[in-house]
């Protein structure tokens, strides 16, 4: 009896490039030439927005946080919304670099560098908000358990303190992971450059890495360890961010679904931002053969899945509110969907649940304009998700006498726009001075990179 076996072909990850030298040339090209006009134009725009944000922060420091729209029931508003928004975006990088690595998703190699860089910049943006939110940022070091003249230690039972530890650990570990991934590429740049200043800079940064096999062995082990410890880390960080809400007694916050719900949301929002940045980067720097349509399609599939998870969480929240038979909880959700902030709630549902449904169709999954629009919508939707969670729960909790509305001021908007400016400015600088795609990893997933027959090709 003969058996006919059909195998699924793995899609090619590197298109049309046969030799490794071309990879180096393509990736290093943007680092060698004077930036284009469009880069300068974008940089001017983002740096101006960043400056605007810092001016608003300066004014906040001068006058106090009374210049914001925060009021008595709504003590957390744009500031914490932006914090959770940026932290969430920061999760996609580690997801791509660690979780997809553990799952042996080899397509991650083309996108992990940019995604990790984005993570670091997003966490930097996120870090600004709790600092300015404390009101007197020059005393922000009180967040750390330092011996002080009052002899009182920080309260380790508070989720806000867990956040301090989680976010700073996350930033440090992401930075180490990212830098470690950069070392072999910096060595490649060092060995090819003819510019003496760059030679010195790359020599220092690459630490004398010589790509020896004995070092690669340690390097790959360490990389795996970093992936293995970053995976629970990334899940824990957003879980802890959700504890800021879930451990309180505010209706709409006090739910056990929050940790997985927040993690799914973080993956969702982060992937949308990675997609947005990469579609533009690959176009501008002609990386179409490295970041192929297969990559983008895979990311759209992740986006669709995460979008459905988030949609499921929205539905379960409503169900639980009804099933708990708790009047306050039920009111909080009715108020979200039909109260004064209903427009924000339905914007969120439209952007996060409806818009990714387009990705059921291959035609839309592989269409650049559709991807861009959906990614932008999801980014907006995920910002509104945090706004809805924070503001609608706070503005009407238990006693109607303490209900109030929240209206942001121009400084709230200014600081948020400034953080967008900071993020994109850092990203624009990154793609100019460091390789946006990991050369050493791409070379390892090319056809024929590993000796066939001599060892098991993976």
């Amino acid at each position: 009896m003969s058996v006919h076996v059909e195998t699924l072909e793995r899609p090619e990850l590197v298109l049309g490039i046969k030799d490794r030298k071309t990879i180096t040339e393509i990736v290093a090209k943007p680092l060698d030439r004077i930036p284009s006009k469009s880069w300068f134009l974008l940089f001017t725009l983002t740096a101006s927005l960043m400056t605007l944000g810092f001016m608003c922060i300066g004014w906040t420091f001068y006058k106090g946080i009374g210049v914001w729209g925060n009021n008595n029931p709504v003590g957390w508003a744009f500031d914490i919304t932006n914090f959770v928004f940026w932290i969430g975006i920061g999760h996609a990088g580690t997801l791509i670099s660690a979780i997809l690595f553990l799952f042996r998703q080899r397509w991650r190699t083309a996108i992990n560098r940019a995604a990790e860089a984005m993570t670091i910049f997003a966490v930097m943006c996120a870090g600004i908000f709790p600092l300015i939110h404390v009101g007197r940022p020059w005393l922000a070091y009180w967040l750390f358990p330092l011996p002080n003249e009052m002899k009182i230690w920080v309260n380790f039972r508070s989720p806000l303190l867990w956040d301090v530890f989680a976010v700073s650990t996350y930033f440090i570990v992401s930075l180490l992971f990212w830098y470690m991934g950069l070392i072999p590429d910096l060595a490649t740049l060092r060995d090819r450059t003819t510019n003496p200043i760059k030679k010195v800079a790359y020599s220092i940064l690459s630490l004398g890495w010589r790509s020896s096999q004995r070092c690669w062995k340690h390097y790959e082990t360490t990389y795996l360890i970093f992936a293995a410890i970053s995976t629970p880390l990334v899940l824990s960080v957003h879980s802890i961010v959700s504890f800021d809400f879930a451990t309180s007694i505010i209706p709409g916050w006090h739910t056990t679904i929050f940790p997985p719900y927040f993690v799914a949301g973080a993956i969702f929002g982060g992937f949308a931002m990675v997609l947005l940045l990469l579609v533009i980067t690959r176009k501008q720097f002609q990386l179409e053969n490295l970041i192929t349509m297969t990559h983008l399609e895979n990311m759209n599939k992740v986006l669709l899945t995460a979008g459905m998870l988030v949609g499921y969480a929205y539905a379960v929240e409503f169900f639980t509110a009804w099933y708990s038979a708790n009047d306050y909880e039920l009111f909080a959700f009715k108020n979200r969907a039909f109260g004064p902030y209903a427009w924000a709630y339905w914007t969120m549902v439209f952007c996060n649940v409806m818009s990714p449904q387009l990705f059921w169709f291959k035609r839309f999954r592989t269409s650049i304009p559709v991807m861009l629009i959906v990614a932008i919508l999801v980014t907006i939707g995920m910002w509104f998700e945090r706004f809805v969670i924070i503001v609608t729960s706070l503005h009407r909790d238990y006693l109607p006498s303490s209900w109030d509305m929240y209206y942001p001021t121009v400084f709230d908007f200014g600081i948020f726009i400034g953080s967008l400016g900071l993020f994109f400015t850092l990203y624009l600088l990154f793609v100019r001075v460091l390789p946006a795609v990991s050369m050493s990893e791409i070379k390892g997933v090319m056809k024929g990179a590993h000796p066939r027959g001599e060892v098991d090709d993976v």
Partner: protein, 180 residues
């Protein structure tokens, strides 16, 4: 491994590189290394490179970090300055888990990173390869085998035969020598 002087050869094909590396290893040479722009799977077996000990550092320091984190929370909340916060127990173990966990991860990450530097002897301030134009290709598109001449099993003619058999290019001496 720090190299001073020896014979080097460049390779284009990963197949030939792995075969040549296996031959060099089989001839009993210990002081040699292979330089590749990306880690090649199977090369470590061909060269008989042992597994890295770095995971032990990650584990031990991870546990140490978690232990230190938990101890510190106990010490500040129970030993040094007791405060009644919301009637919660002084030693609130469930609430202490997040910080314990994060510190475990943090210590583990630092330990792994520093261990990588230690085992790879980074940062390296100088190398005999930095002036050799063919050696520089080993971070770009070619592969290179280098055999230190002070190895007791070093035999130039034999090595040249091995390299030539596997289509090596630019077989040359690298390092401080009057050789070509």
């Amino acid at each position: 491994m720090t190299f001073k002087k020896g014979l080097a050869a460049n390779f284009i094909s990963p197949q030939e590189l792995v075969r040549a590396a296996r031959q060099v290893h089989k001839s009993g040479i210990k002081k040699f290394d292979v330089f590749t722009p990306y880690p090649i799977h199977g090369l470590d077996e061909a060269m008989d490179v042992k597994s890295s000990h770095i995971p032990w550092f990650s584990l031990i320091f991870g546990l140490l970090g978690a232990g230190a984190g938990l101890y510190f929370q106990w010490w500040t909340s129970v030993a040094d300055w007791k405060l009644n916060i919301g009637g919660k127990p002084h030693f609130s173990l469930p609430a202490f888990i997040p910080v314990t966990f994060e510190l475990g991860i943090l210590f583990s990450a630092f330990a792994s990173f520093i261990a990588l530097f230690y085992f790879c002897k980074l940062p390296k301030y100088e190398s005999i390869f930095e002036k050799d134009t063919h050696a520089l290709k080993a971070t770009d598109d070619q592969f290179m085998i280098f055999v230190e001449s002070s190895d007791p099993e070093f035999n130039e003619n034999h090595l040249r035969d091995v390299f030539n058999k596997h289509q090596a290019e630019h077989i040359r001496w690298v390092g401080d020598s009057s050789h070509d």
